[in-house]
Amino acid sequence: MTPQAVSKPIHYRYFINMGPQHPSTHGVLRLVVGLYGEYVLSLEPVIGYGHRMQELMAERRPWPAFLPNTARMDYACGLPHQHCYLLAIEKMLGIAVAQRGEYLRVITTEINRIVSHLLWLGANLLDLGAFTPILYCFDDRENFLDILEDVTGSRLTHCWYRAGGVLNDVPADFADRLRAVIKRMYGRFEIYKNLVTDNIIFQKRTKDIGIITPDLARRYGATGPVLRGSGIAYDIRKSMPYSIYPQLDFDIPVGEQGDCFDRYIVHIEEMRQSLRIIEQCIDRLPEGEVRTKLPKKMTLPPGDCTFSVEGARGEVTYYLVGDGSDVPYRLKVRAPCFSNLSLLPELCEDMLLADMIATMGSLDLVIPEVDR
């Protein structure tokens, strides 16, 4: 049953301050929620607690020195950010990327997407009050992170991509280990189906809750699984193909009506598709150099350049302006979470408090990415 819209007795409204320290405002988001009973009358996200001036930092140092920062934009899925920054730089400087390096970039990006979706899955269920799935998700996540750690040198804030390819080649047993983990992961979906997808309580909590209409999603510029949950098959990997994605065979899962359950299904399906992409990439992984030789110092030519990639949460865009020096004149990052968060106030009006939490969880917000 969907709660009926209540008339707005604004005088009886009382406020609760959710966050910045609240179990379900992952990270440092603060929500000023005006309530009437348990109905949400107004909701105002307050952001900026995690602001680190990332874009300004980029304008103060040579462009290679910004690479470690890109992975710190989005703590759960940093590699697409790094990928995007480098693709923008490479487009601007006209650098050809080593084929093997590009394949490895795509493999690790997709691993990172799975890792991020698994984190979302666990955290979203934690918001719904199920404690156990997050531990199972972390179990799976660890397997992928172990591989990423071996390759990129760290588990979370990876800094492995370099202009023209990647830093170093992968270990010899990389493909075999990855195949084993992928095989295991395919089997794990059954557990999530039994424990979560089919569960009557989960379905009652998510179906018909937080419906994002295609119109609403378009108006706020939502991207990623949030948009695809609403039935719009917009994925940068297909609609503005970059890197080696045109050569790969994968589908864009879309939801039907844009409720929390559809977003959940889209996330799960995307994990399957990412596994497919990784399998194809391992099979076709070319031999050779992982990185093209580049001159020591490369200056950014005057002019600007934008590049978009599909991050785990939606469209990541880097806009870069060069002025002839090796320090970018301007860098602007379009983070998907900001747009996805901005539709929350309109979405959550007249909702029950518990549904508001479920909806917010389903948007897959990473607050440091909003604040940057």
């Binding site: 009050g129 199920a130 404690f131 531990l135 009652k204 518990a354």
Partner: protein, 328 residues
Amino acid sequence: MDILSNIPPHLFRMIIAVAVVLGFVFANATVMGYLERKLAGRFQRRLGPMEVGWHGILQMPVDGIKLIAKQLIVPDNVAGILFYVAPLIAMSPVALPFLVIPFAPGLQVIDLDVGAIFVLTMISFNTVAVFLAGWSSNNNYAMIGAMRAVAQNIAYEIPILLSVLAIGLMTNTFSMKGIIEAQKSIWFIIVQPAAFIMMFICSIAETNRAPFDLPEAESELTAGFHTEYSGIAFSLFMIAEYTYMFVNCCLVATLFLGGWKGIPLPFGDYSSCIWFFAKVYFLMFVIVWCRWTFPRVRFDQLMNFAWKYLIPFSLVNLLITAILVKLL
């Protein structure tokens, strides 16, 4: 000597009983706290507490000491004395249901005619405590939790009573001992499976355990009604919760699982006691199992479930029972 002989022996018996019951209440909370954490760990494929003592067995006593030693932080503008009284109200009636619970044929303080009803009455006291705690905390989260608790407990007491009534129709008594005696040939779980399931679900809801832990739904209300409580006040709520869980399970075991009855064990008089505790702790295990498996239901769904499913079903069950009892 004269003075001692003038004191009626009842008084000694009462004092000993109170001491034993209170000791058991704390021991039960300790054991359940440990088991819950250990089981939660195993359900999630980790080990749970391992550091304090062998396999973390001393974790709960140590936690208890920590909670007792902690400062009781009282926020500004709480509703004065009520804030302090609420945990005491939660804690004080927990000893009373033990009066009528038959642990073994001879191990029952008093066999009231309305034993089952008496237990339910004492359990409902918890609602008052939870509401007072939420109301007096001067915290919106706590207030929402308190309101949820009241609505939830009132809704779920009805199907519990209706299920107990179905048993009462069959046995003609609410005395705990009488109900156990009536299960000589067959346990009531076989005769009344629907009543058993409904009563068990309701007792989970009644004790505010997941998936019905709405008064303390942590992802929504941080900690719900006990948001502002710290130290010993918080632990009194927790002890009360575990004790009510135990009492509820005792009631279910008595009404449906034949109480102390079971295959004779080679422990003489103790075997019936062992059977009783085995049944009760099995039910508690199922409750813990529920908590670590399911997501939390939403508030209106919880009420819908009570009013649209449990109450009609228990009424129908009662009707069928009444007809069958009349006919047979």
